[in-house]
Symmetry: C2
Subunit: 342 residues, 2 copies
């Protein structure tokens, strides 16, 4: 195989496509189901399954803390994890611009293989398209995933929040958005930061194993924490009071926000999730989370209240309380903060 | 919702994304699993499932006989059908260039909904990304699909061909490739032709219901009939003798081939499949196929023989026999005949 650049013939469905599949994808993703797959992979199932899809168009394709491949695995694994489903099988579809260095694709595929190992999930089917120069910018990846629901009792949902719950985040917020923004704008940061891009299934598995009643779980991707909390408050017909001082935000992310006039709770995360759990299990849940390096900054940030639009006369559902007791509405994000964040 | 054009904010994960999902996707794909889906759709399963993925990058996005949406449903449904699996659940991920007319997207989504109805499959989860102008050409779609294997006995496979089998095609070959080529080159055709783009599951279901032993099944997409037969011959360690005169090829496709120096068996199909079945059930299988309008030109085109590289001294596995008895090797396609065919 010509190891220089990906050419149109690698997507033609003929000899070169077969070589790329065998020598690159099979070599890194190797497993029995993939090897046996023809037009589709075949597996045995019994019980409740979760099915999700996500496309990744992030730019740049390599960034501090990850790349589009790591993100494509983590993103879909995390969507399954947020349903309390153990990630089992992933599909992987590449849409590649003619001329992409083979080395870049190989680095991305290795990175996917490494991320898969952390979660136990397997890529069992795939697709490769190569399009002429200019028809796509470098590389898009779609991953779809199938997971197994681990419990009949614990079925986290946006509709599951209850007054008396507290809101936890699994780590400091806004790092992925801040890193992508900084890389695009070539900003000098006070302290180097990395994207939080990571598969969170191991942490969710530990919470499930401990029987923590997970009323709601959501990875705070596009739209950030603000989007998740507003969607939850609306779906569950509750209000949420967030203590601004308790939001874990790294100094570098805070710096970028102050410099450019953003809020960390609007920034995307790719390995940080939000939980709504009964107040009485909050400490136990935090202790479990803190065992994982990627959750070392997990914190309780607020509480779920009976529905009470705030301030009076508005439709605000999520309230941000400052350290001095001042309250304002935490609005759902509108518009496009940062295209191609994921 | 602004019905003019798709803007970056439609992919931002905020209010506008929710509006697009609710007012366009949910409106057309409406079903209970989709409505209940959060980060993933949840369904109950029991038995052997097939899982497949495909991205669609076809250009132009509207063509005679279909569009990228119809193709995205048919392509994934057909991959499941080729495993003798009943298509159940599809994911649907749009990667949209900022500025795409809303009307185009709506037409594509309607076309997907119509194609889904023909097969009984449902879109149960999705994803929408909008990227800045120039980052993708108009629209790519990824669909992944889950199907239910219908039989323990009938498991068609590239390794399933046996000497004594005959090779059938479900319709005249090469129409999708010819249509896309003609539209791009703005060729005047002798007679108007349409792409064969179509979901073939109903025909496969009828073959299964009749108990036809389907040794191998494959939709002849990129690489055309030539790619399928060569892959099969190699995987099953057999030779295949194709009678050139029996290949069903429409006049228009033949005309384009003669004009431009192509062969119809190298052209892509998107609703035409190849079958290997025991000779004694060939007539019954053809009679079943002929009941379906999209299979009215189904024909027996050749037979499976003991492995015998031909001509002597070569590694040719698929032989094309002319009406005058002359034989030549039907080579697997190499290179990229036509980028963005699907």
């Amino acid at each position: 195989m010509n190891k220089g650049h990906i050419s149109l013939s690698h997507g033609g469905g003929g000899v070169e496509t077969q070589q790329l599949i065998q020598q690159l994808f099979y070599a890194h993703f190797d497993n029995e189901l993939l090897r046996q797959a023809e037009d589709a992979a075949v597996f045995e199932a019994n019980g409740a399954l979760a099915f999700t899809t996500d496309s990744f168009t992030v730019s740049p394709i390599f960034f501090k803390g990850g790349d589009i491949g790591k993100l494509a695995v983590a993103g879909t694994v995390n969507d399954l994890a947020m349903m309390a489903a153990k990630p089992l099988y992933l599909s992987c579809a590449f849409m590649i611009e003619e001329g992409l260095p083979f080395q870049s694709l190989e680095r991305i595929v290795s990175s996917m293989a490494l991320e898969l190992k952390k979660t136990g999930a397997k890529v069992v089917c795939g697709d490769t398209k190569v399009v002429p120069k200019g028809a796509v910018d470098q590389l898009f990846i779609n991953t779809s995933g199938i997971g197994e629901l681990m419990s009949d009792q614990i079925r986290p949902s946006a509709q599951g929040l209850q007054p008396g719950d507290v809101i936890l985040v699994s780590g400091d917020i806004g790092r992925h958005g801040a890193v992508i923004l900084a890389e695009r704008e070539t900003l000098q940061l006070q302290a180097p930061i990395e994207s939080d891009c990571n598969s969170v299934w191991p942490a969710v598995a530990a919470l499930l194993a401990a029987g923590i009643p997970l009323h709601a779980l959501r990875d705070a991707t596009r739209g950030g924490l603000a989007a998740v909390l507003n969607e939850w408050a609306q779906a569950s017909a509750v209000s949420i009071d967030v203590q601004e001082a308790k939001l874990p935000i790294s100094e570098s992310v805070q710096g970028i926000c102050e410099l450019l006039g953003f809020e960390a709770f609007d920034f995307a995360n790719e390995g940080t999730f939000v939980l709504s759990v009964p107040a009485e299990v909050a400490d136990e849940a935090l202790a479990i989370l803190h065992q994982f390096a990627f959750c070392k900054n997990a914190a309780m940030i607020g509480e779920v209240l009976e529905f009470q639009p705030y301030p009076k006369g508005t439709t605000g559902l999520v309230i941000l309380t400052s350290p001095w007791g001042a309250q304002r509405v935490l609005e759902p994000p509108q518009g496009e903060l940062l295209p191609r964040i994921c």
